[in-house]
Amino acid sequence: MGALDVDYMLGLVPVLLSYLPLTLQLASLGMVLALILACLFAVIRVQRIPVLNQFTVVFISFFRGTPLLVQLFLFYYGLPQLFSALTVIDGITATIMGLTMHFSAYMAESIRAAIVGVDRSQTEAALSIGMTNSQLMRRIILPQATRVALPTLMNYFIDMIKATSLAFTLGVTELMGATQKEASGSFLYFEAFIVAAIMYWIVVEMLSWLQGNLETRLNKAYSR
């Protein structure tokens, strides 16, 4: 067992760091789009909007029931094979699409659970003052459900950051892809991957800190 090659690790830091923005970009765009989609799905499911509800059930079932990697391959390699115009979907877009759809399916279910968990009296009160269903959702139910769903959604975001490492399979060199390539050049696997691991870790830690702050703010209304 040789000693750690610290110089190599230090030299790798700026190189890998330059791929971190892409990783974060993939995850945050994916998260924003997935959140929008998931809220939409959750509301459709809760209000049982005809046709859309059935569509959503199938969508969620498919994207929860198949591996993310399979979905990425379908978007990136499969679709262009059927419709050659879809070659314009590049690796980054395909990754974001895959992350969005995959995670929206999971998130829709936890948002739905959070919505259903909001006390029935809140709905009645909102209806009694003459709110429409969409006002009720936007102003009363979703804000309260957000607080309940936040920890779970944050976990999905963290998961998503880590899932961006699959993008290298689609030719997108993000943090993980860069690390793999550097490691196969030097054969210093431990050094290379520990540098990458620490970077992921720091990002996730910063997010957890953010989550703590957000939770404190959202909980303000509920503390005596």
């Binding site: 009296s121 009645e124 009160a125 804000p143 209304a221």
Partner: protein, 248 residues
């Protein structure tokens, strides 16, 4: 003016409201009493479609709705002309006292922000909770929450305020302050329709008391008549029981 004609409500095979005919004049305070499970709350909840009535006709102000032909728009305007006070207060948990009262003005009546909050503050003053403007429901006592609940109902100048057992969930120490606020409203001749077990309140404040049993109006009249000279044996029976429990 509120008018209910042949209002019926079935839950499956169970008949909860069996044809209610009722007219309430502007400024009238009507208290509905009766044994539990006889459809008093359901009656209130049918007036603003928190429950979908099975048959009948509802008039609030100049809007008349056949319950089986009610459109979404009808239901919304019916709700906009009524206000509801819930047994469990049902304040919006994510909003402060001030926001709870202003919500309807902002969202439903589309008032400008400044005007809505000014009005909400005025109501907070009237219900004596000006210092709680920025407090969230979770940090308020039951009595304070229910006063905000009533304040929320006062905000829009509704044709009628429907009170569904407003003091039943309260610890005894908070009942008085809520009743006092309701008396204040009554003194201002706000049209009110109440379901309550507070017989003394009904006796002192109501213009008319309605006794309901088995989904029908059994007897109605001024409190002096209903409480002291009930005609129907069922009314007598009910009053005896309820006064006995109260003295006990």
């Amino acid at each position: 003016m509120i008018e209910l004609k042949g209002l019926r409500k079935h839950f499956g095979d169970a008949v909860v409201l069996d044809g209610i005919d009722l007219t309430i004049e502007k400024g009238e305070i009507v208290v509905i009493i009766g044994p539990s499970g006889t459809g008093k709350s359901t009656l209130l909840r049918c007036v603003n479609f928190l429950e979908q009535p099975t048959a009948g006709e509802i008039t609030v102000g100049d809007l008349t709705v056949d319950v089986n032909r009610a459109t979404k728009k009808d239901i919304l305007s019916l709700r906009q002309q009524t206000a509801f006070v819930f047994q469990n207060y049902a304040l919006f948990a994510n909003k402060t006292a001030l926001q709870n009262i202003a919500e309807r003005l902002l969202v439903v009546d589309r008032w400008p922000k400044a005007k809505a909050y000014e009005r909400a503050r005025e109501i907070l003053r009237r219900i004596g909770l000006e210092d709680k403007a920025d407090a969230y429901p979770a940090s308020m006592s039951g009595g304070q929450q229910q006063r905000v609940g009533i304040g929320r109902a006062m905000a829009a100048g509704a044709e009628v305020i429907l009170f569904d057992e407003p003091t039943s969930s309260l610890d005894p120490e908070w009942v008085e302050e809520v009743l006092a606020l309701m008396k204040q409203l009554a003194a201002e001749r706000q049209t009110m329709m109440l379901v309550t077990h507070e017989m003394s309140f009904a006796r002192d404040v109501a213009d008319r008391v309605i006794f309901i049993d088995d989904g029908r109006i059994v007897e109605q009249g001024p409190p002096s008549e209903i409480f002291y000279h009930p005609k129907d044996p069922r009314t007598r029976d009910f009053l005896q029981k309820i006064l006995a429990t109260h003295q006990a």
